[in-house]
Amino acid sequence: MTAARLLRHETILAILTVLALIVLANLSDKFFTAENLLNQGRLMSEVGLVALAMTFVIVTGGIDLSVGSILGMTAILLGVFWQNVGLPLPLAMVAALLCGTLAGLGNGLIITRFKVPPLIATLATLALYRGLAEGISQARSVRGYPEWFFYFGQGELLGVPFQLWLLGLLTTIAGVILGLTTFGRATYAVGANETAARFSGIRVDATKLWIYTAAGFLAGLAAVIFVSRVTTTRSDMGTGLELDVITGVVLGGTSIFGGKGTIVGTALGLILIQALKNGLALSGVKGDGTIVVIGVVLIAAILAGALFDRNRGG
């Protein structure tokens, strides 16, 4: 059964996550409360949004290191469009999102048209987009957004943070696209054997272009929510975001060599990391201790996955 096979890693991960939740709940009584959990959900939304696109990117066998920089650049552009250019805020949001999307399209074009390996291409744009963000911002932060704008980052709908609804909706859409559509089949095919995909009439370049563009769009969306959540715009926003995102995706069982991975896995990976970060902090473990634990969990999950893979290979 295809589904059963694909879900094997996810099953291990789900069990691991439940175990972690039980242990953490016992370590601190402040951890397993609705308020804390919803707040953690709020905090992981930005990484979560970008991780959805990153799952597609890594399934194609690529990588996108520039997402943190795109987030920073979009955030700055949002502030600049609104305050310096004088666009109405909704229009500024749309314009900034468009720029984030274009930044992603730029990555895709470099990778598909000039056949630059994704690692190199996005390493370059990581520097490029961050540099642009810093150049445009002139090290000034933008504050004083109107009250309604904070709804995206701080508001609630039916008692649940707004961005968690958004993340849930987009996760479902991404899961359906990757798991059930022709586009999803093409994504797996490109990652598993790009030549065979091309020889089968799959539009390899178009598929990649869409995916890197989507990564830019989602990084832009995460930027808007980030700015709304912290009420300010700074050029160093999103620095290092790419590593959190990639960690979540890889922990979720997506193969860095491409061809394998699911959105469910990514969601579980992100939840596990966020739970560990928060739960250990609440139990009094210092920040560096938490990082060590996350590193160990990542290695353990990957080893477990590899072990299952080998048993299956026969």
């Binding site: 059964m1 295809t2 696209i177 059930l180 559509t181 022709t182 586009f183 999803g184 089949r185 093409a186 797996y188 095919a189 598993a192 054997n193 030549t195 065979a196 995909a197 091309r198 020889f199 089968s200 009439g201 799959i202 539009r203 061809g259 026969g314």
Partner: protein, 519 residues
């Protein structure tokens, strides 16, 4: 050779002839996941003999070879060297015992030189434990000269060499380890005719030196030319081991297949119809140029030529992988632009590529997923893939082509070569093509599957499909084609009707220097 040392003498590399039976495998069985792939098979090798191993894909040849070379361990049975039982836990131990393997996929490092590849992991060292480059280059030179390859540059990077030359490097590597048994797994599958002759000379030289050679090949002509004995496997069982003098081609084939295959090439059904595909002075950069021909409905048009003559490149241009840079392609008499494989497929063109592992299939995916890949549009509703339709399509392919598999969810890489090729066929015939391009349709495939594919090709042509077939096997081209095009130097140099296509005439056109234009 003749003189044998006293029984039980220590096997030394210097006197391989001292061993009457270098290696014997008795009663070997092996199962994977409960399926028995090798059942009580015995196999032995004598000094200085070529022992051919024959069988259809999936018969257990690869498993047997892997047991001998230490990659697998047999569930039952034992290996003995010179009468003494041994166990190989790793390929390294098999090497140490003098067993070397030249694999079908050559395991060399493209960025290292010929000499470095030969001595990788066992390079001669100087007094100071540093690499002794001089000795390494000298010994590499000697080894290659002893293989009648004085033309091979020991300082060339292996990545720049032809397949035939890489194979020689691999053989030299095996010999550098004082191999007394050399296992060759389909060594000629990827070679052009001239290189095959040369390889066979090398095998004869090794044999004269007392090396025992296990020779796996689907080409019966090579086996009759080289082998002393032949062992046939079928469905994991040992059918028999015979001296080559006791058998003929028909007998071997029926031993392999378990039934008699009467005619190798099925006759033409019906008449060729009107032109379906026409090429007018088509070129791709300077790789192929001035390509003009018609492909008619119901016709099998063969393209003969040496590797690098532009055969595959022509197919890739028709299929849109390397779109034509000049000339005109017409389908049903109207000009078309084929800029991508997708466009080609939508025009009813299917291409069965020469390298099924890297171009034809995604081997880590299932049969269903592979069959669906070229048919996603048809097997989906809107954007959503219809899992039930995909499954049905895969089941159809399995039934129609007799693919031996557990079911649509089996991963393709677990299938034998012949069955993998049938999955590629299933995937492309599911697109309902009108024009089918087959590049080396039976390379590395056993006799039984080969005959099935030939019969299928005739049937498809009989139903009105136009088939363009590229093959390095001259008998296949001559046996299957209604007309034969010969390519040489990126151009079509000759065209023959079936009755005029003799091996001599086609062979001469293939090898004529410079590829000057013929009438």
């Amino acid at each position: 050779m003749g003189d044998r040392g006293p029984a039980g003498a220590l096997p030394t590399a210097a006197s391989p002839a001292a061993l009457a039976f270098p290696i014997e495998l008795r009663g070997a069985s092996k199962s994977f996941a409960g399926i028995r792939v090798l059942n009580d098979v015995s196999f032995d090798m004598r000094v200085g003999e070529v022992h051919a191993l024959l069988g259809e894909n999936g018969a257990g040849k690869s498993t047997l070879i892997k047991i001998l070379s230490g990659l697998y361990r047999a569930d039952e049975g034992e290996i003995s060297i010179n009468g003494r039982a041994v166990k190989f836990a790793t390929p390294r131990e098999a090497h140490a015992a003098g067993i070397a393997t030249v694999h079908q996929e050559l395991l060399l490092f493209p960025e290292l030189t010929v000499a470095e590849n030969i001595f990788l992991g066992q390079a001669p060292k100087t007094h100071w434990r540093l690499l002794d480059w001089q000795a390494m280059r000298q010994r590499a030179r000697q080894l290659l000269d002893s293989l009648d390859s004085p033309d091979l540059d020991i300082d060339a990077k292996v990545g720049t060499l032809s397949i035939a030359n890489r194979q020689r490097v691999e053989i030299a590597r095996a010999l550098s380890q004082d191999a007394r048994v050399l296992i060759m797994d389909e060594p000629t599958a990827a070679l052009a005719e001239a290189d095959v002759q040369r390889l066979m000379d090398i095998v004869r030289r090794l044999k004269a030196r007392g090396v025992a050679i296990v020779y796996v090949s689907h080409r019966l002509s090579e086996i009759f030319a080289l082998a002393d004995r032949v062992t046939v496997l079928r469905d994991g069982n040992h059918v028999g081991t015979l001296d080559i003098g006791e058998v003929d081609e028909n007998r071997l084939v029926s031993m392999m297949v378990g039934r008699a295959i009467d005619r190798l090439y099925p006759p033409k059904q019906g008449e060729s119809g009107e032109s379906l595909l026409e090429l007018r002075h088509v070129a791709y950069r300077n790789v192929v140029s001035g390509i003009s021909f018609d492909l008619k409905r119901g016709e099998i048009l063969g393209i003969a030529g040496l590797v690098g003559s532009g055969r595959t490149e022509t197919a890739l241009t028709i299929f849109g992988i390397t779109p034509a840079t000049a000339g005109e392609i017409l389908i049903d008499g109207s000009p078309v632009t084929i800029a991508s494989p997708e466009a080609a497929r939508d025009l009813g063109i299917a291409y069965i590529p020469e390298d099924r592992g890297s171009q034809g299939l995604i081997r880590t995916q299932t049969i269903s997923e592979n069959v669906a890949l070229a048919n996603l549009k048809r097997l989906s509703t809107g954007f959503m893939v219809d899992a039930a339709k995909v499954r049905k399509e895969a089941e159809n392919a399995i039934r129609r082509f007799g693919i031996r598999a557990r079911g649509p969810d089996q991963t393709v890489r677990e299938l034998s070569g012949g069955n993998q090729q049938k999955v590629v066929l299933g995937k492309w015939l599911a697109t309902n093509p009108r024009i089918l391009i087959m590049d080396e349709p039976t390379r590395g495939i056993d006799v039984g599957s080969k005959a099935e594919i030939h019969i299928l090709m005739r049937k498809l042509a009989g139903e009105g499909m136009a088939i363009l077939m590229i093959s390095s096997e001259l008998p296949e081209v001559l046996g299957m084609s209604d007309r034969v095009l010969v390519m040489n130097g990126g151009r079509i140099v000759a065209t023959f009707d079936r009755q005029d296509a003799t091996p001599e005439a086609v062979g001469a056109a293939m090898t004529r220097a410079g590829g000057e234009k013929a009438a």
